[in-house]
């Protein structure tokens, strides 16, 4: 007796949740609801990584996307007042063109994507050791460049948000 069907059922649930919540991010009118649907999508994506056997990436996903980026975007939602013009979503000029464009691209890409066959799968037993070996061995220089990028983004965000006028402080 194997539990392969359980993996398939989990995959189906996660796939429906990801696509449904992703569509809700685009379609729902209220910005806060969209942000929470986005967090739910990220959480289901962490489950998808677990199904693929990438536990470390799933942990990073929960920490960075569900934790940090969602909180940052919720702060952005709170700091920018939201008008009542969110309902103009279906009355915009470029919406039909965007739907035609996306559908035109999406159908062949989805058919092509479904046609990939499995190669030789990696050995079971977690991805932490091979990930760390690659990251700190072959990719040590890009890793350092990534830290410089984070520092530049930190300084840039502070400089952009800093107030120049003295009287408001």
């Amino acid at each position: 007796m194997t539990f392969d069907f359980l993996e398939m059922v989990l995959f189906a649930i996660l796939a429906i949740a990801i696509v449904g919540a992703g569509a809700a991010v685009v379609l729902v009118g209220r910005i806060t609801s969209a942000a929470l649907f986005m967090a739910f999508t990220f959480l289901c994506m962490a489950g998808m990584f677990l199904l693929l056997g990438a536990e470390t990436i799933a942990a990073f996903q929960v920490l960075i996307y569900v934790g940090a980026i969602t909180v940052l975007i919720l702060y952005g939602v709170m700091f920018t007042p939201q008008g009542s013009r969110d309902y103009g979503l279906f009355f915009q000029k470029q919406t039909p063109w965007a739907i035609v464009f996306v559908a035109f691209l999406a159908v062949p890409v989805m058919v092509f994507a479904s046609s990939f066959q499995d190669g030789r799968p990696l050995a079971r037993g977690g991805d932490l050791v091979p990930l760390a070996t690659s990251l700190f061995g072959d990719f040590a220089y890009p890793f350092e460049v990534a830290s410089v990028l984070l520092l530049a983004a930190l300084v840039g965000a502070i400089v952009l948000v800093k107030r120049d006028d003295e009287e408001i402080r």
């Binding site: 942000a35 975007i73 007042p81 999406a106 890409v109 066959q117 983004a153 965000a157």
Partner: protein
């Protein structure tokens, strides 16, 4: 031993989420929602990278290494993007991107 879920299913979910995010970027007007949809597209790319790295005959975890770099770039992007949105709002109180036509302060 063959995995229960085929690789194509993961890639199909990734492509679906990518095009959902693409449609959001093209149709929504709120700058914060556009940032959210860009994050959805980045995450869809992450799923494709991890799926190919685990299932497509790779010998090591290089695809997952790129996912780590995508995490870094996404965090930097959303921080700078929100800072730009806040700074633009402070200059001129609009959030919808089609109302903010001029980039000059």
């Amino acid at each position: 031993m063959t995995p229960a879920v085929p690789l194509g299913a993961f890639i199909a979910v990734s492509a679906a989420l990518f095009f959902i995010g693409c449609a959001g970027v093209l149709t929504r007007r709120n700058a914060v929602v556009i940032l959210m949809c860009v994050e959805l597209m980045l995450n869809a790319a992450n799923l494709a990278l991890v799926a190919f790295s685990r299932r497509y005959g790779a010998t090591d975890e290089r695809g997952s290494v790129f996912v780590v770099f995508v995490f870094v770039v996404a965090a930097a992007e959303v921080a700078v993007g929100l800072a730009i949105v806040l700074s633009a709002y402070r200059t001129r109180p609009v959030v919808n991107v089609d109302e903010a036509r001029a980039m000059k302060g």
